[in-house]
Symmetry: C2
Subunit: 362 residues, 2 copies
């Protein structure tokens, strides 16, 4: 990748986000293969990349449809020709948002999350008669939105009574984002979805979809419990995934290309800060991101336009003006800050992809 | 503010950023008064708001010019008619960035930070003959970019030899961002600028500008040591400033208007997550932001589209569909995520301001 960095010098000002196309294609292939091996439908979460071009490639690799987080993202991807969308969020479908959903249902086949009777009723009212199915969100241990597995039937029956078809259940095992927690989170996910599915069937409802999967747990997911996985980050990976062991450094396909602007020996400052990388930093992270080409360096501080990096005593030196690749801790946050991604292949810039759904967060 | 929230229901989908115009005007007035009382030039940092309309109001309140962090921000504000700009950053002025700076110097009177001989030489070469002055960045204790006070003359002399006029010194006392640290940071700032100024004068250089000031330290700044303050956040304030004691809850002039989408008793989930609020969370913060209208509530977790809030046992309840104002921890990060700010005055939406320099981070 250093060769690629040299080639683009002088042409583009740092900091900017660059996609390593070969690494991205390897990531797309390996997740698609893993899904096929377990007979999971793969419904990648498009919030990670927000790019039509990448969604197109995911579908070419066999994705059954896309997952999105917001009505705004669904609108962008539907306008871009993606007509099988799951909004994996308990949308509160009132006012303007209800009207937007109704219009969207004319363009795309929609699945939408619900996690309460009131939410199901509002959604039913907003999309009445349209091509929309609901999935009940289950809390499998992350304790965010979602109901406990034993409450799933209650919500599903309320939807059915309101005239909203329910096709199954979904969960996000976000508690797998911690060192050594992936395996337990995958087990919790399977248990929660299995119990919720049984609850729905006992209530006389058919369950077509049992959807789970985050990048850390997707390859550990239980084929007996899930019909579908929804990983997002895998397309690019990031410092967090590498530190969790979900990927290696060569699997990181998106980095911020930055310049060393200040130096005092082993401590250097890069011009990629939190307004380019995002500020996500879980307590267990080693710092504000990682340098894939210098894995022993540490990003000890991050401010809006500065990444302060400490280099190991016995490693390479970096001088003012040097270009450095920085992997953000959380790539979804970094992408949402950029208007476009610069695409590099075989050491040359071959394209720029607009981040079509940047900022489409409502 | 609750009345304002009611008025806009159904019209705008949450989450979105709203400016409380009265609170903002009070903040502008009080900082301008404080600067005048100490005879400081006020050069507000425009990275906080990135809005031409707010910069215009700052100038009306007596600002001597604007501070920006990047060449991109300088370009936007120069194009908007602001011709006295300080890029408070050790710009590495090579390649395209050097050419952009040269073009910018035709439109505006520029001051630019330097913190090394090499940086000064590159800048001198890029802007030779143009209307540009350099300021030497001093490290007053934050240990990011900048040189130690005793090294200031070395950098300044290198700039002078390269034909780049030096008008003074500046620092950012960012180590004041911590509970109980504001006073010490203000003292460190004054000491560092005083020593750096003396060093330059001893080397035969004139020092016109001694520039410091962050929002937590601006009102504590030493009038004998500084000629100028550069606070940014004060225009809006945020959860961080309130928790540091730099402002009160009524002084928070920008919040994310969000909807309760999920609830399990005292634990509710709002639709404003880190893609709207930013993910900044210093170790001493109480959570991922604050609810100014419910100061005893805690934002215990923040993900991209979820703020998980725990309400006190004896306080109000929040129901699904309720609108809630959330103050981000770091308002600069939140603004940089938004395309526009919705302006509220006397309980009604009166305007929308484009975030003109959103994403102009290079």
């Amino acid at each position: 990748m250093s060769a690629a960095i040299d080639l683009i010098t002088g042409e583009l000002d740092t900091p900017f986000l660059a996609v390593d196309l070969e690494a991205m294609e390897r990531n797309l292939t390996s997740m698609a293969d893993a899904a096929r091996a377990h007979r999971f439908a793969l419904r990648p979460h498009a919030k990670t990349h927000k790019c039509l071009e990448i969604a197109r490639r995911q579908v070419e690799h066999g994705a059954a449809g896309l997952t999105v987080a917001t009505v705004g993202e669904a609108e962008i991807f539907a306008a871009g020709g993606f007509t099988n969308l799951f909004i994996a969020y308990p949308i509160w479908a009132v006012g303007a948002r209800g009207r937007r959903l109704r219009a969207l249902a004319e363009q795309a086949s929609l699945r939408i999350g619900i996690d309460s009777e009131e939410g199901a009723q509002a959604l039913a009212k907003a999309v009445v008669g349209a091509n929309v199915e609901a999935l009940v969100e289950i809390d499998s241990g992350h304790h965010r939105s979602g109901v406990r597995p034993e409450q799933a039937a209650e919500v599903a029956m309320a939807a059915a009574r309101a005239g909203l078809p329910v096709s199954g259940v979904f969960t996000f095992p976000g508690h797998g984002y911690g060192p050594g927690r992936r395996g337990q989170a995958a087990t919790d996910e399977a248990d929660a979805l299995t119990e919720a599915t049984a609850t729905l069937r006992k209530a006389g409802l058919e369950v077509e979809v049992s959807s789970g999967g985050s990048t850390p747990t997707a390859t550990l997911a239980d084929a007996a419990a899930l019909t579908e996985i929804r990983p997002g980050v895998y397309v690019f990976n990031d410092a967090q995934q590498a530190e969790l062991g979900s990927c290696g450094w060569p699997d990181i396909a998106l980095t911020a290309i930055s310049t060393v602007v200040s130096s005092s020996g082993r401590r250097v400052v890069l011009d990629a800060g939190s307004k380019v990388l995002g500020a996500d930093q879980p307590a267990w992270a080693t710092g504000g991101g990682r340098l894939p080409d210098h894995p022993d360096a540490r990003v000890v501080a991050l401010s809006e336009h500065h990444a302060t990096v400490v280099l190991p005593e016995d490693g390479v030196s970096l001088r003012r003006g040097d270009l450095v690749r920085v992997a953000p801790n959380h790539v979804c946050a970094a992408v949402n800050l950029a208007d476009e991604l610069v695409v590099l292949a075989q050491g040359a810039q071959i394209d720029r992809w607009p981040v079509a759904a940047r900022g489409a967060n409502g």
